[in-house]
Symmetry: C2
Subunit: 550 residues, 2 copies
């Protein structure tokens, strides 16, 4: 029996219209590096988003479903694109300006972007790629920057402000099915080709509601949100949409992501909530420790993207009065994910333990842990399995390109449609997730899992070991077994037997590695992570000097 | 282009499963009037909701879409029904125990309830009606109470606990289309027959998310919510679903709605947020003023249902440290509606002015003001029009009964499907709604509206006037004109000319009434409101002694 409720879709245009009318006085404040930041009200953003849509449709010929790329920093023009492009029925494609050039080109070609909006300061990044981008018919330059590198481009070059000037400030936004695509973001693709996640109007809307709940980031109209996390990185974790929905002003750092300008903009504009990856906050903490500033306006700092060192959380809280909230998510999860608010009624020590976890899932994200044999594991805080999630803002496939069907690789989606996160961890009876490993880094030994990260942490705690990397290697009897590779500290004369005995006091006997090798250094990826692919290949090729302990 | 996101419905069973697992330790605490309240964890509620669903399906034969009525106070068994009945695909029909008997019978028959859950203490209300309720095949008695009045009932009588005992504690909840009906609530029907609003799984879910946002009531897992507003009154304003979703514990007052037990349960259980109509809070304020208690745990008190006297808001805040939040909604709006949080950066006096308004709408409720000629009015804080609303948790029709089509009366729904609220008011440029009149109480004079409430308030401010009621009467030239009826204070010798001159200093000349009558008292309804129907009839029948001023 159908209900009697109205059938009104959840769309980005509703967020845009609401924010620009009911919260028309709220502001997007963009840092400029000069004395005065740039300010634009939500009402102005609304009018300019309409002008942008008119320009894209009437002059650039952008039709519904076509992709419009943005190669931009966090600023108010990016906000106009964020809201205006999906509202007109086109698809906002945020481009990661930190990707290698060939990957960026691959992504733009895969998405078949017809238009790219580019900040003037990023022209040097885009211009050399353009000859390889046949679908890009228009480049729209936003803000100052030397345009000469675009002189010979096959694409037409426009100035953003000239394009908008004189257009109608109202657009009759089409009523869009909420399941239609609104925005496109590619995973960074550390393994294989990048994969595109197409967010829907529905998923962005529901995610925004969630961000604004008390159990997440609780954005309200009295807040000023500072998304240091880039708008090309999973929708800046949903903050732009959520803030516009709640009437929270936004402080946009543009390209000023260094500790000193961040500290200055926080002290000057007084945001109440900020979000960034640990490295950014680490830099800011060092800056604040060195040059004391009044930053107590920031009641909440959200840290995600990778696990947050406890010392960082304590440093912010104890030395600067800022509460750090741990969150977990990924491109495929919009990205929330978990948020780690401790439960009521715990003491100080327990509170810190809870805050070190990835946190609890909201109602809209169903989670399960899957063990090595494909069985669902209990939530007992001990059983470790691969995390799988399901929900209205969780990806169920990847974009197959304009001509292709949706992609559902087996290693990414379960047969019943859940997302395989590739993360391994535990969930406590009261719902707190703790991630311990990437699934590709656990060793599947005789139907049980051995955590390489746990072994490495124990080994690196030994004074004779500088670095340790544990990888899975094939084993006839057990399927896989751990290979421990260690870098010794200068002058260390520790033996494998001693190391194994040291480990034996800390982990179960069946988890102890038989295979050991001393290496001069652990191979690293370009961003400094252990490159275990190299170690596995070296082992397979017999390049390592492996000792087998009986 | 469809997105790549998972297609997961928003359902009550998701709220139930989430709350009873991730927040399994949260509690529903029911006041019993005895030393110890009754406590049940969300995990237990989840298990018992499953048992209830098994009992309803297997023993009572309840099929999908069938209506199950609840004639119950706010307590943990009602919570089990709230979550279990919609989750199994049936429709929860909350019955208003304050309705006149014949209206209650009409509603149960219209809904064709097959089962009624009744609190033992409410058997005296239900038993006499049963002979008139042919569809009710089963009565399930919850909690203690004398059952002899049910002895001769045609329906089978069951004990709730016996019905649940031994059933499986897990139910494989069906995956339900989110637009399907989940719950049914009838408007109280002060004019015409009661009208049924069928909430969907989608509307309840989205509404719960909204309740938990910072701009609404910000419920989180550290909160304890006290819904004094009954669960048969528009889903207790959404608090039970929202609390279960957020992991906020619930303090349920059962039948102890008097000021003294309310004060005691607040001091003992320490809820953080409460919701009720003004008369309840008025009684509590008087109680707290007379018998001081520590109630500062309540950081927020939500007042809705009718306009809140400013003295009540100030009394709670200034004498007891409790912030009162004004909210507006109705059965047809789920009920949120507006919530009045003042904007940032206003001074104390402005803050109180904002808090006296009905507040701002959330993104999911679109609003417009419609003037006398059907035109949309500006949001300038001055132009007064009838409020119309649109959104995913706003009714677009009424339930037409099992055999009937949905009802869309013209006076309730606009041709383009918006709900006509029947309320008249203004909206400021920054989005704050102030309601001034019911639409049926405004006088449509020559294409303009005259507020009867405004005229009455001015007249009653005159020392010679005890009461005043202004009603619309037909006028050949203007369509309608105001008739002012006044009750004079003892010994008052004020003339109509003097009263008109008094009004003339306060309102526009064209709004001044020509027709005047002194009456002995204003006719009242059973709940003490001015009964303007009677006055209009008396005027039409020539029963009033009307003087026409030229």
């Amino acid at each position: 029996m159908l209900s009697t409720m109205q059938d009104v879709p959840l769309t980005v245009s509703r967020i845009l219209t609401h924010g620009s009318t009911v919260h028309g006085k709220a502001q997007v404040i963009t840092w400029t590096g000069e004395a005065e930041p740039h300010r634009r009200t939500f009402a102005e953003i609304g009018r300019r988003a309409a002008q942008l849509a008119h320009a894209l449709r009437d002059t650039l010929g952008v039709a519904a479903e076509e992709r419009v790329g943005t190669l931009m920093w966090n600023n108010s023009e990016h906000m106009e694109a964020y809201l205006g492009i999906p509202s007109m029925g086109a698809v906002l494609h945020t481009l990661n300006l930190r990707l290698p050039a060939e990957q960026l080109a691959w992504i733009i070609n895969h998405a078949e972007d017809r238009v790219v909006l580019v900040n003037g300061t990023l022209i040097p990044l885009l211009a050399p790629l353009l000859p390889q981008l046949p679908t890009v018919a228009h480049v729209v330059v936003v803000g100052p920057g030397d345009r000469t590198p675009l002189a010979d481009a096959h694409a037409q070059v426009h100035d953003y402000e000239e394009l908008l000037a004189g257009r109608p400030e109202h657009y009759d936004w089409p009523e869009i099915d909420e399941r239609e695509a609104a925005a496109l973001c590619y995973t960074s693709g550390t393994t294989g080709e990048p994969k595109g996640v197409l967010y829907s109007h529905r998923s962005l809307y529901l995610h925004s509601l969630q961000v604004n709940t008390a159990e997440a980031f609780a954005l309200g109209s009295r807040d000023i949100a500072l998304p240091v996390v880039p708008m090309f990185h999973v929708n800046a974790w949903g903050l732009p949409h959520a803030a516009f929905m709640a009437g929270a002003s936004l402080l946009m750092p543009d390209r000023f992501l260094q500790p000193a300008p961040l500290a200055e903009m926080i002290e000057t504009i007084r945001p109440t909530i900020g979000a960034a990856v640990p490295t950014i906050w680490q830099g800011l903490l060092a800056e604040l420790d060195a040059h004391k500033r009044d930053v107590a306006c920031l009641h909440t700092v959200v840290i995600g993207g990778s696990a947050c060192p406890p010392a960082l959380m304590r440093g912010f809280q104890e030395r600067h009065g800022i509460r750090v909230v741990h969150a977990w998510g990924m491109t495929e999860t919009s990205p929330l994910g978990c948020v780690s608010h401790p439960p009521a009624g715990v003491d100080d020590e327990e509170e810190w333990a809870y805050r070190a976890t990835q946190g609890r899932f909201p109602a809209s994200v169903e989670a399960r842990l899957i063990g090595p044999a494909g069985e669902e594991l209990p939530r007992d805080g001990t059983a470790a399995g691969e995390l799988e999630v399901r929900g209205p803002w969780i990806a169920g496939a990847y974009y197959g390109g304009a001509q292709g069907a949706l992609l559902r690789p087996e290693d990414k989606f379960s047969p019943d449609g859940w997302l395989r996160t590739g993360d391994v961890g535990t969930i406590t009876p009261d719902g707190y997730l703790t991630l311990t490993d990437r699934a590709k880094d656990v060793i599947k030994s005789g139907g049980e899992w051995i955590s390489s990260v746990e072994l490495e942490n124990h080994l690196m705690a030994h004074p004779g070991v500088a670095e340790a990397a544990v990888v899975a290697v094939p084993d006839e009897k057990w399927g896989e077994r751990p290979l421990a590779t260690v870098v010794l500290t200068d002058g260390s004369a520790i033996t494998y037997e001693e190391l194994r005995a040291f480990l034996g006091e800390r982990i179960a006997r069946w988890q102890l590695p038989e295979r050991w090798a001393v290496i001069p250094s652990v191979p690293k990826t370009s961003v400094g992570k252990f490159d275990k692919k190299v170690l596995r290949r070296q082992y397979a090729d017999g390049e390592l000097d492996v000792t087998l302990l009986s």
